[in-house]
Amino acid sequence: MANKEPNIGIVKDGKVRRFTKAGIAAHWVHTVTFLTLLLTGLSIYVPATTWIGNLFGGIQNARIIHRVVAIPYALFALVLLLVGSRQQMKEWLKVAFTWKKEDFIFSAKYIVTEFMGRHGDLPEADFINSGEKVNSILTVGTLFTLTISGFVMWFPETFPKWAVRLAYPIHDLSWLFMTSMLLVHMYLSLIHPKMRTALKGMTTGWVDEEFAKSHYPKWYRRVTGKDA
């Protein structure tokens, strides 16, 4: 595959380079901003969550922080990817949005097998498996829906009334679904006995070669040129 990211796929003492520096930075910027927005937003979601606002020095501070952090959330990750990891981003998005029959099989079986710690014979995954494709689609999708609906809610006078009123449900749907995906994502990367090794990918950029071979065989073959 022509002009892939420079050092993606390099193998060294049992590890293979999976993510670029820019990609990692983008991930963690996105993570920090989203979680902050989630918590500050959550403080007004239901009557009982006001205490969360107090973590930020009161609900009105939370309100300001939500708006301030929304800007880096909306822009920084995107900028970092475009600047530092354009190639992998393109690949990532291409893979995320190509869905074949096997992807659906993968998702269904994965939940009841791998996710539960059981072995399941699943179709071969490319750069990311279909679960991660759902996560990617949601992340990119909600980045836009949250930003746009948030902006509309922030300046209601400048938008038609129907649009402002539609922004509220869109905002809620977006963050609720993103959060439910996030829970699974965080569980896998932090708690799941078998999967949490992947976290190193997002910290150092390298993952175990074995792990890569077994979890992302198509990607492994493509980027290392060796057999899975």
């Binding site: 710690g117 509220y168 449900p169 609720l176 699974v184 569980y187 077994s214 979890h215």
Partner: protein
């Protein structure tokens, strides 16, 4: 049973006693605006202005008419503000008044954007919503709202909803003798609101058209978006609990480590 206001705009002379009585009862501050070429010197509701008398000049075939109509919260039976308030700060009192508990209100503005009548206003320094509360502390103690008590011509009446509706229907016949296009407003709107006899089209009074209901976006938001979203998050949590059970409590059988179909090549 719920009480409501019945406003017969054909009796209103825009003396604005209601505007001042409302400020008097609610201890609201004055709010002077630039000259706008009209006796109605304020455009609409504001954090310190819960009620306002609309004054519109209309030229008709049989001559000029100066049309007055008092606007305030509609105290809807299906109240969009109540539905969207994330902190349950907006409640309905036993007598039917929609009022805000200022300790609970966080000034998020959901009600401001979703009220079909544009009534609630949020104060940007106190971060509190304020609007007409039908003098809830008065009506819960058997008194009438300040505006209805002070109205010299009896254009603003207050009482049980059926009585007010009956009064409106009886009055409508008389009013139509002078104003053929008069209609009752507020019987169907938003599940039943403050009742009006309007002598002209609702738009002249700054009211949305007959039949206005809670905005569909609000229903979509509250009945579909939030529940579905909550369910999604709930499902994830459930999933994680189950996964934790399987991964940690009931240890998986020793595996060869191969996860991929067909094992390791």
């Amino acid at each position: 049973m719920a009480k409501t206001l019945f406003i017969d705009t054909s009796k209103c002379m825009a003396c604005r006693g209601c505007e001042v009585a409302c400020k008097n009862w609610n201890d609201l501050a004055a709010d002077i605006r630039p000259f706008n070429g009209s006796y109605q010197t304020k455009e609409g509701f504001a954090t310190q202005t819960y009620t306002i008398v609309k004054m519109n000049e209309v030229e008709e075939a049989d001559g000029i008419r100066w049309i007055f109509g008092k606007r305030q919260c509609m105290h809807c039976t299906e109240a969009a503000c109540m539905m969207v308030c994330p902190k349950n700060a907006i409640q309905r009192s036993p007598e039917g008044a929609i009022y805000v508990d200022r300790d609970l209100c966080i000034g998020c503005g959901y009600c401001v954007q979703n009220c079909p009548f544009g009534v609630p206003k949020v104060d940007n320094n106190t971060h509190k919503m304020s609007k007409c509360d039908m003098c809830v502390s008065r009506i819960e103690n058997g008194l009438t709202p300040a505006c209805s008590k002070t109205c010299p011509t009896g254009a603003i009446q207050f009482g049980e909803r059926e009585d007010m509706l009956r009064a409106a229907q009886v009055r409508l016949a008389q009013v139509r003798k002078r104003f053929p296009r008069a209609t009752i407003y507020g019987n169907e709107e938003a599940g039943g609101t403050v009742l009006y006899i309007l002598t002209e089209d609702p738009a002249v009074y700054g009211l949305p058209p007959h039949g206005t209901q809670v905005p569909w976006q609000v229903k979509f938001w509250q009945y579909l978006a939030r529940p579905v979203g909550n369910v999604a998050v709930g499902a994830s949590v459930l999933l994680l609990l189950v996964a934790t059970w399987f991964n940690f409590v009931q240890k998986p059988p020793k595996e060869t480590g191969a996860h991929v179909e067909g094992g390791v090549k």
